[in-house]
Amino acid sequence: MKGIGRELQELFRYREFLLNLVSNELKLRYRNSALGFLWAILNPLFYLLILAVVFSKIIKFEIEHYTIFLLSGLTSWMMIQQTVTIATASIVNNQGMIKRIYVPKMAFPLSNVLARYIDHLILTLILFVFMILYHIRFTWYLLLVPLILLMHFFFSLGLSLVAAVVNIKIRDIQHIVAIIFQALFYVTPIIYSTEALPEKYRPFFILNPFYYFVESFRFPVYYSSFPPIKIFLVALFLAMFSFAAGFYIFYKKEKYFVFYLS
């Protein structure tokens, strides 16, 4: 426990560095592009548009306010998927620095996650704009959203930490992670609702951790209600467990990273 306290303290001492990493990432991603930071909004928006057209106009899902339904699921999904995909390579991508200078290594995955979260907070704001456009009621349940976003944050941070560690030794992980997410996208109720599934497949959802996050996020936004308590608690547990495990594994291994980077 003492070591973990020291780790957090170290991150705090390097907070300015951490913030610089985040701002570098945001700054550099859109530097030299004419629309600049606007792409942070346009990108998910076009993705949403494509999916919305395909699944509500071409393949007709009978879901009311499909755009909101889709966007709420997508926001939750991308928050985890994009973050973890990027952060998996965080240590390997910064190996030049890690090998040459002392730096608290957790700052790298953490900065990736933080930078992505700034994008996703914007995405959440877009979601609210769409809710106004579609005349969705703003209810008190929306106050749950910050807490649920925080759960997403810790869940994806935990996954990122583990993935970043494993990726050092086995570089294939960053590709595997991308494929796993592609597959999971279709077995998570993002573009369709759980009810649309045949009864016999439903037990499989229980095994998919992303299911709990998508549902937790969607309920207050789309259904204007508290998420089913079981789903919410599982998501909460997964967030805490993922973070604790990721932090611990990373903390245990970070000293040795330097020997595995080349």
Binding site: E16, F17, N24, R100, K169, K253
Partner: protein, 412 residues
């Protein structure tokens, strides 16, 4: 003053060499994973073992040794880049690692952005960076490029910026690993003087170098590493001697790398001549003849050059030279130009006296030589083999030498 800056207690580091190349540390967690993918035989070795150091605040400490002796590894352990397999490292104060310059730079960012970015990596508050910003830029001589991305810099510019940015933050401890290849000669000299000036502010300097001249000139103590273990620890002159002993006594001296060969040559290149007159020692003393190493501006300065002569009837010409540590000659008088008073015998002492030392704060190199009267034949030449120091006294004049001068004003 006797406060410890760096304490290294029985430190060792073990690497395991994979057959496919890279040196890797054996750690149990990764072993399990690694076993899934590779079943290579590993050869373990201790890159460093049982290293004990107690480096005091304000000390200039040198580390020498052949290639693969563990010098850089030691520096990296102290810098916190490598974890020690055994033992403890204790560091008091901020470290400025001049190990691999520019490691903290992001090539996509501009010079300005990188100064702030790298500054945060050294935990320099933004405010301090802002205050020093102009000085950093001026020192680096990159004013015109400071707002273009660093990736467009030449490697010299890159290093200059990296160096300037590190040294302006008044670190407590400076770790230097052969970095004096920064930029052109003038910039090198400037950088070097800047680093030496840290010491007067109480900074500790740990220097790893192949340049034995440099090491023996500026270091107070020197550690000689041989294959990861301490081989000698003590005064620089003895350390250098010991180092040569180690190098030459090695059975595999024949396959010693080129770099080591050059070092051996470099000590020889500091002394030449046919030794018909031999300079046996050079020491610096004060008025009463007591040995002295640190002088003040305006002090009485005397260099005593002991010699042995095999000449029958001729008199040699003695000469000395004072240079900056960066080998810029300040003054080089000899006894042709100013006659040497007194009788010349086959054994004796030549005294070179400066009644009032006009040098300012800094480190200086001293050469002594004996030549024939035409100055074409060297009897014994000791090129920059000696070192003395002038301590600061808070003068508001700048430079390395006081030139007799005065100011006048006239109202127009």
């Amino acid at each position: 003053m006797k406060e410890t800056a760096i304490r290294v207690s029985s430190v060792g580091i073990r690497f395991s060499l994979n057959l496919n190349g890279g040196a890797r540390l054996k750690s149990d967690g990764f072993k399990a994973l690694g076993a899934l993918f590779s079943r290579q035989k590993k050869r373990e070795f201790w890159a460093l073992r049982n290293i004990k150091l107690d480096i005091k605040k304000g000390e200039i400490f040198g580390v020498i040794g052949g290639n693969g002796a563990g010098k850089s590894t030691l520096l990296k352990i102290i810098a916190g880049i490598y974890p020690a397999t055994e033992g403890e490292i204790e560091v008091r104060g901020n470290i400025a690692p001049l190990i691999e310059l520019g490691a903290s730079f992001n090539p996509e960012l501009t010079g300005t952005e990188n100064i702030f970015f790298a500054g945060s990596l050294y935990r320099i508050p933004r405010k301090v960076i802002r205050e020093n910003f102009d000085r950093i830029v001026d020192f680096s001589e990159l004013r015109n490029f400071i707002n273009s991305p660093v990736k467009n810099y030449s490697s010299g510019m890159f290093l200059r910026l990296a160096f300037s940015m590190v040294i302006f933050f008044k670190p407590d401890i400076v770790l230097i690993d052969e970095v004096f290849s920064v930029g052109d000669e003038v910039f090198q000299q400037k950088s070097f003087e800047k680093i030496l000036s840290f010491r007067t502010e109480g900074a500790t300097i740990l220097l790893v170098s192949h340049d034995l001249n440099l090491i023996s000139q500026i270091c107070g103590r020197v550690l000689v590493l041989n294959r990861g273990v301490e081989s000698f620890l003590g005064p620089p002159e003895e350390a250098v001697k010991h180092y040569h002993h180690v190098i030459t006594s090695r059975e595999d001296a024949a396959i010693a790398t080129g770099a080591e060969g050059q070092q051996a040559a470099s000590i020889d290149s500091r002394r030449w001549g046919n030794r018909q007159v031999e300079i046996t020692s050079v020491r610096f003393v004060d008025e009463s003849g007591n040995a002295k190493h640190d002088f003040q501006t305006g002090d009485y300065f005397e260099a005593q050059i002991s010699y042995l002569s095999r000449l029958k009837d001729r008199r040699p010409v003695f000469g000395v030279a004072i240079s900056t540590v960066y080998k810029l000659l300040i003054y080089g008088p000899n006894t042709l130009e100013k006659e040497l008073k007194g009788e010349f015998k086959e054994k004796g002492l030549v005294r070179f006296i400066i009644p009032k030392l006009p040098l300012f704060e800094g480190d200086y190199l001293f050469s002594a030589a004996a030549y024939d009267s035409s100055l074409s034949q060297a009897y014994d030449h000791h090129e920059m083999m000696y070192h003395f120091r002038v301590l600061g006294y808070g003068a508001r004049e700048f430079g390395c030498v006081r030139i007799d001068s005065r100011w006048e004003i006239e109202s127009a």
